[in-house]
């Protein structure tokens, strides 16, 4: 059984797209649709997760992801703890598990974890108390499932039918947890044509076999007739690693310009997980252009995270209740007299 699911097949942890069904991913997207309109309310929050406590455990720095997780939790009326692990007890020598035990002792219900090491969120989920859900907010090069789901949500808003789409993912696929999760989500949702495009040094050697994608080393070829062009962030530290000669050359070969974008379908959308490097992987005129949905991704990220968090916190409730409670026995005969007679 998938360790992310409870006995009823409901989401208990959200660690990776791998092993999740199309039905469950679609449920997440549909639930997120409901949360989008919460932002239209004068009071931009719902009372759903009142009394729940969410701890953001960011072992790796992040602004956008942490902020949108925090906003998502607050718009669900949960209480949020932001732990800056770098300056907290772990820096004083406390082990990770001791930190977790302390947070559990404070009755936290959910850990949102980002870590530079692949597998960190799985490790924490495996060691967390049964009443705690773990959401992976990015672990090493492994997975970033909520980013993938907000990307799927943004795509579906523009292109409602996944099956016929051609999606081109451009850039540093080798080091990208976003790419790995996005490819998995696209394939689970039935997208037939997924392409990865980048320099040979930044694409996995066996991408075609291992990931089931088409591989292109030339942007102009790979982008042709694409419905979705997803740019990946070029991490500056890759320059030191000898993967690339220079940012300037990278932009010349793999930067998304208006000219290159014209090779994609005329109604193609341009996506980027952020933060963008203008003039490195994407030209400003494209990033700010009519086909760009980059800021929509940020907005929808909150609704998608609200969906995932409330589904996992709700499944907890069902676990707590599965023993059978007085509530379930209600509706017997004791208070039937309250009902008006016919």
């Amino acid at each position: 059984m998938n360790s992310q699911l409870d006995a009823h097949g409901r989401l208990r942890h959200f660690l990776t797209i791998e092993g999740l069904s199309r039905e469950l991913l679609t449920d997440i997207l549909n639930t997120a649709e409901g949360f989008v309109t919460v932002a239209e309310q004068a009071v931009k929050k719902v009372p759903l997760c009142r009394g729940k406590t969410v701890a953001n455990l960011f072992f790796e720095t992040s602004t956008r992801t942490r902020t949108t997780f925090e906003l998502a939790a607050k718009r669900l009326s949960a209480d949020v703890l932001n732990l800056n692990i770098g300056t907290s007890a772990t820096a004083k020598g406390e082990t990770l598990l001791d930190t977790l035990r302390n947070l559990e002792a404070m009755h936290c219900d959910m850990f949102v974890v980002r870590h530079t090491q692949s597998g960190a969120a799985h490790f924490i989920a495996a060691h967390a108390a049964p009443h705690v859900s773990v959401i992976n907010a990015g672990d090493g090069r492994h997975a970033h499932p909520t980013q993938a789901m907000l990307d799927m949500f943004t795509i579906r808003r523009h292109k409602p039918d996944f099956a016929p789409l051609c999606v081109a993912i451009v850039g540093d696929v080798l080091h990208s947890r976003v790419a790995r999760s996005v490819i998995g989500a696209l394939q689970t949702l039935g997208v037939q044509r997924v392409r990865v495009i980048g320099p040979r040094t930044l694409l996995p050697a066996a991408a075609r076999e291992a990931l089931g994608v088409e591989v292109f080393y030339d942007l102009s070829q790979g982008i042709r007739d694409a419905d979705v062009v997803m740019m990946l962030r070029l991490q500056r530290e890759r320059m030191q690693g000898g993967f690339l000669p220079s940012e300037h050359e990278y932009f010349r070969l793999f930067g998304l310009t208006e000219e290159r974008l014209r090779l994609a379908k005329p109604d193609a959308i341009v996506m980027h997980p952020g933060p963008i490097n203008r003039g490195v992987e994407i030209d400003s005129r494209v990033a700010d252009g009519l086909q760009s949905v980059i800021l929509e991704q940020v907005t929808y990220g909150i609704a998608v995270r609200m969906a995932v968090m409330s589904m996992a916190l709700g499944a907890q409730n069902q676990r707590a209740r599965s023993g059978g409670t007085a509530e379930q026995q209600r509706g017997g005969g004791g208070w039937r007299w309250l009902n008006r007679s016919a």
């Binding site: 409901g34 309109t37 009071v43 719902v46 009372p47 759903l48 499944a315 409730n317 039937r336 008006r340």
Partner: protein
């Protein structure tokens, strides 16, 4: 030992009930000197009823719809409703007379949730509760102003509006709540 569900009220009887409700509504807001009301239906059955009433009353503004999944009081018992539809209030209820429409009024908990949700959008001038069926069994101090049909059902029985076309009321003998 579930018996087959039997239609309790068929489509033509329901149309008749809704026409009566529409004329009651006209009298209700004309008698009180209210401005044109804003109609809001609760998903799913309440929206179907509201669509019919909205057409019968020829209300000029679009119908609002609420899915109260995020305002329910049983999240801590049963978790999130597996099917959530987006709520949509195309016209703000701020300062307006709102006609809140549901199909079956039972415990009153759904209406409590809907009221909280409406007030998170804006502050209406008033809310009038319109229910196609009042089946009794209230657990909260909530009463409808306009009701199409009344029936007193034992707790273990379940009444459901099926639709959207045709609309039929069905009573299930022993479906748990």
């Amino acid at each position: 030992m579930t018996m087959a569900a039997a239609p309790w009220v068929d489509a033509s009887a329901l149309s008749e009930a809704m026409e009566t409700m529409a004329s009651q509504l006209r009298r209700h807001y004309a008698g009180q000197g209210m401005d044109t009301p804003l109609m809001v239906g609760i998903h799913t059955g309440g929206v179907w009823v509201a669509q019919r009433l909205h057409a019968l009353l020829q209300l000029p503004e679009p119908l609002g719809t609420l899915d109260i999944a995020f305002y329910r009081d049983d999240f801590t018992r049963i978790g999130l409703n597996p099917v959530v539809r987006p709520s949509s209030l195309p016209v703000s209820p701020e300062g307006r007379h709102v006609l809140l429409v549901d199909d079956v009024l039972y415990t009153g908990r759904t209406v409590r949730a809907a009221l909280n949700q409406i007030f998170d959008y804006a502050r209406p001038a008033s809310v009038c509760l319109v229910a196609l069926v009042d089946r009794g069994g209230r657990e909260l101090p909530i009463e409808p102003q306009i009701t199409g049909l009344r029936v007193d059902l034992p707790l273990h029985r379940h009444i459901k509006l099926t639709g959207p076309d045709p609309l039929v009321l069905v009573i299930h003998p022993d479906t748990p709540r």
